[in-house]
């Protein structure tokens, strides 16, 4: 309406009022928007999920390449004297086997050297001896007869270097690799009665005598903590069946019984304190009613063996000999068979490859370097594969779930794992032991990253939820702001 009208109705013309000036209104609008814009960074900072970029490409590359242990076997001059072509024959045979069974030879780069080549350090040597045997160091003595057949030689070498995992049971009973094991030795009475129970046992000396040498050999791979306890009442979960041998009555354990032998409900063997894997070695003293307790074979005949091994769990030795004196004490010599047996079981559980048939072990009976190296290589290989799988799955997971937070810790762990893998690859050339250390570190770090609790924080936080929280405020606040802005630009 025109100014005349304003004059007539005593109202002032709004357009003439100061706060109705355009610049005032625009300033007001601007001041609103300024504050809002200034607030945006806070918004971003306060609601963003920390999600660091993972070294995806590195992971993918690392997953591709593989660890390789170069192995050189040096044939002594004496071979080439009598049979010059033997080396090449063995070589061809081995290469064939490598191609045929790829898994077995994975990660092994085998080279054979003749006499004329100079002898490389820490390479394996094959020499002629009076009988086929393993010398203490990385040396294989071969008798005249064996030396003649390239086939025999190649078998020996392949068994020693990359021993076949043909026997499934063998591969299954091996425990998962770990940097540190607890070995728990338990003297277990089924039911201690004054007439039949062992109060004390000379466990420490027995350990030092029979188990420690093995441990010291294996200490390249693992650290061990040894502990022992005595349990006086550990009933069986089942009733062993009675069998009669002539007039004497014994109770027997069938193969099925062996699988359910451990009564974990009643026996307090496992320790909840640390997450290092525990290997149990149980010396089981059957009660009066059950003694002697024999292991019986398929057709129900008691066998002479009174020890058995539970895959990935430990070993059990059943003590059947008479305990005469009331408060008896198991001396070291009484414990000798038990602990020798435990040592063997331990080696088996840790995956120490058996000595190939027809090989007599030299003067160092515990564990030869051949076996040790093979074990190192296999473990390292497994670790590397494990690490690669873990890393790959992490990367895939993070790619799939897009509001999964990735903290600094996770990222560092993954980088650390990659670095260690790299180290492992490098070290493989020189020393399998060091390669193993690196690989184990890589594996532990990778799995730590994988199980990082921080990654699960907002897993169940769908986007709809977010909208439901935001819209009530912002939809309704932003409408007038935006509209006013638009109108300003229109005008």
């Amino acid at each position: 309406m025109n100014s005349a009208a304003f004059a007539s109705s005593g109202l002032k013309d709004p357009r003439k009022i100061n706060f109705e000036r355009n610049w005032v209104r625009r300033a007001v609008l601007a001041s609103y928007w300024v504050v809002i814009v200034l607030a945006f960074p806070f918004w971003w900072h306060l609601t963003s999920i920390e999600r660091l970029a993972l070294p995806t490409s590195q992971v993918r590359t690392q997953v591709q390449n593989n660890i390789v242990f170069p192995i050189t076997v040096h044939f002594d001059g004496s071979f080439t004297h009598q049979n010059p072509s033997i080396v090449s024959q063995v070589h061809t045979l081995l290469r064939d086997s490598a191609t045929s069974e790829h898994e077995r030879w994975k990660g092994i780069d085998l080279r054979l050297r003749g006499a004329d080549d100079e002898e490389a350090f820490d390479s394996y040597t094959v020499v002629l001896g009076e009988r086929t045997s393993i010398a203490h160091s990385r040396q294989l003595r071969v008798s005249e007869t064996d030396a003649q057949s390239a086939k025999r030689l190649s078998c020996l070498l392949s068994d020693l270097i990359a021993n076949s995992e043909s026997s499934i049971s063998h591969s299954q009973r091996i425990v998962q690799y770990s940097d540190h094991y607890r070995l728990a030795f338990t003297l277990l009475h089924e039911n201690a009665t004054p007439r039949r129970f062992v109060e004390t046992w000379d466990v420490q000396n027995a350990l030092a005598e029979f188990v420690l040498p093995l441990l010291s050999k294996l200490s390249v791979l693992h650290n061990f903590t040894v502990e022992s306890q005595v349990q006086y009442h550990a009933p069986l979960a089942f009733e062993p069946k009675r069998i009669f041998l002539g007039e004497t009555e014994v109770s027997g354990l069938t193969q099925e019984d062996l699988t359910v032998f451990i009564n974990s409900a009643e026996w307090t063997l496992s320790s909840s304190v640390s997450n290092d894997p525990v290997l149990h070695f149980v010396l089981f003293v059957p009660s009066e009613t059950h003694a002697p307790l024999k292991i019986i074979d398929g057709e129900g005949r008691p066998t002479s063996q009174n020890s058995f091994l539970l895959p990935q769990w430990g070993g059990i030795f059943i003590l059947n000999d008479e305990l005469d004196s009331p408060s008896s004490h198991l001396s070291q010599d009484k414990l000798e068979p038990v602990f020798r047996n435990f040592a063997i079981q331990l080696a088996a559980l840790l995956g120490v490859p058996p000595v190939p048939l027809g090989l007599s072990v030299g003067e160092r009976p515990i564990l030869s370097d051949w076996q040790l190296d093979a074990l190192l290589r296999r473990r390292a290989l497994q670790n590397v594969q494990g690490t690669q799988d873990t890393l790959y799955s992490i990367v895939k997971l993070v790619d799939q779930i897009d509001n999964m937070p990735v903290g600094q810790v996770v990222r560092d762990d993954i980088l650390d794992a990659l670095a260690s893998l790299h180290e492992a690859y490098r070290a493989a050339a020189t020393s399998p032991a060091i390669a193993l250390r690196w690989s184990s570190k890589a594996l532990s770090v990778a799995s730590r990253a994988f199980f990082n609790p921080g990654m699960l924080a907002l897993l169940y936080f769908p986007a709809e939820h977010k909208y439901a929280v935001y819209t009530p405020l912002f939809a309704s606040i932003s409408v007038p702001l935006v509209v006013a802005l638009i109108r300003e630009f229109m005008a």
Binding site: G10, L11, I17, F19, V28, V34, V35, I36, T47, R487
Partner: protein, 422 residues
């Protein structure tokens, strides 16, 4: 009755209330409507006790008052009811002085008009202000200091005004909202310009220098506080941080507590930010729009605080309502005064009753009290919008008498203006 005697009479009445042993005082001290964790007398006493038994008061998470209060009450004067009464009296007196300054009357006039006695009684008899002060909540001091600040500002005493606002901000950080209008007020006049708006004519440089002076005072006070809290900065997080991070979810008439009781943890910090920013966002627009009358701008911002601040107590809207009496010229232009009044009436009755239903009798649940606090929020908002509307509407003046036949039309226009947009 004689108008001149109103102030003294009321002050005496207030002092009487202070000295008499009132029955319900213990209940008042615990009441959530009139003490927030930031202002409750119990916590002040607790802090003093801790100070005496040399425990760090700010460690416990139960004490949020400013170290200045702590030092004052621990050394100079004991926390006795008289002080609150005096502070009320000071507030009323300051309100009176502001009124006079605004009306351009001489400051030391013996006789007072009806309007002035109304103003005084509107402050001292306002239940929203009386009960907190009877409950010895420190919000009384905050209010009196705010009024003192405005008084000095409108009387053109920069240093004292700036010192006062610095002190107020130290007591309750939210008063920072009032800083800008007060600076503007200092460089212009308090006289009412609502009817005839004009551009801001004060010098910007002066504002800058004044701001510098304020910063000086403020830093000094902060330093003093740090010294009192033996050199540690923990008090700042405990007292100022409390109003930003809302560590204590004690219910109050405000909008924050239930919102953040029910908020998902992941969004908590974000919405805390939003609520705080929402308070700040009002400063500039109000100051720009009412650049011609900074006192009115301050009044509106006090209204904003009285509606939206964290740890709201009835004292905050109370100050706003009492200050309405400063601006008689706008009363005619209020849009829905009766609605606002009824809303406040309902809120004032509902809040304590629902609180009892929920907390004491256990018949109702938290939603009852939440609903009451929503009503309170509506009342505050309605008052705010009314005041803002009236403050601008007055500039348009009225329809003349002579305009025959148009009167009714014009009357309708008045009623239509809020929808009369482009």
């Amino acid at each position: 009755m004689d108008e001149g005697t109103v102030l003294p009479v009321l002050v005496c009445f207030r002092l009487l209330l202070a000295v008499l042993p009132l029955p319900g005082q213990h209940i008042l001290k615990h009441d959530h409507q009139i003490n927030s964790p930031l202002t409750s007398y119990l916590r002040l006493k607790e802090g003093l006790w801790m100070l005496d038994n040399n425990v760090d008061p700010y460690m416990g998470g139960s004490f949020h008052h400013s170290p200045l209060l702590l030092s004052v009450f621990s050394t100079i004067l004991p926390p006795i009811p008289i002080i609150w009464a005096v502070s009320d009296a000071v507030g009323a007196w300051a309100l009176l002085r502001i009124w006079r300054a605004r009306q351009g009357l001489s400051l030391h006039r013996a006789t007072t008009s009806t309007a002035e006695s109304l103003i005084v009684s509107a402050y001292i008899l306002n239940p929203y202000l009386l009960f907190p002060s009877l409950a010895l909540s420190t919000s009384t001091f905050e209010n009196s200091f705010t009024l003192l600040t405005l008084m000095f500002a409108s009387e053109g005493k920069p240093s004292s005004a700036l010192l006062a606002i610095a002190f107020t901000i130290n007591l309750s950080p939210y008063s920072i909202l009032l800083l800008l209008p007060i600076l503007m007020l200092l460089v212009t006049s308090p006289a009412s310009q609502l009817a005839s708006p004009r551009p801001f004519h004060g010098s910007i440089n002066r504002i800058a220098s004044l701001f510098g002076e304020f910063m000086l005072y403020w830093l000094v006070l902060v330093g003093a506080a740090c010294i009192i809290a033996d050199g540690s900065w923990s008090w700042m997080k405990a007292s100022w941080g409390a109003s930003l991070t809302l560590p204590d979810l004690t219910p109050n008439p405000g909008l924050w507590w239930y919102f953040f009781t029910e908020m998902f943890d992941h969004f908590r910090p974000f919405f805390l930010m939003v609520f705080s920013v929402h308070l700040v966002i009002y400063i500039l627009p109000v100051c720009i729009k009412f650049q011609h009358d900074p006192l009115y701008a301050a009044f509106l911002l006090i209204g904003v605080l009285g509606t939206f601040k964290a740890y709201l107590t009835l004292a905050d809207p109370g100050l706003f309502l009492s200050m309405i009496s400063l601006f008689p010229e706008v009363h005619g232009y209020l849009r829905h005064p009766i609605v606002t009044t009824l809303l406040h009436l309902h809120a004032a009755l509902l809040l304590p009753l629902q609180h009892i239903l929920w907390v004491s009798e256990g018949r109702g649940n938290a939603n009852f009290y939440y609903a009451a606090s929503l009503v309170m929020g509506m009342a505050g908002g309605a008052g705010l919008v009314d005041a803002c509307w009236a403050g601008m509407r007055i500039a348009l003046g009225d329809v003349k008498v002579e305009s025959e036949g148009k009167g009714q039309v014009a009357r309708w226009e008045v009623a239509r203006w809020e929808v009369a947009q482009e």
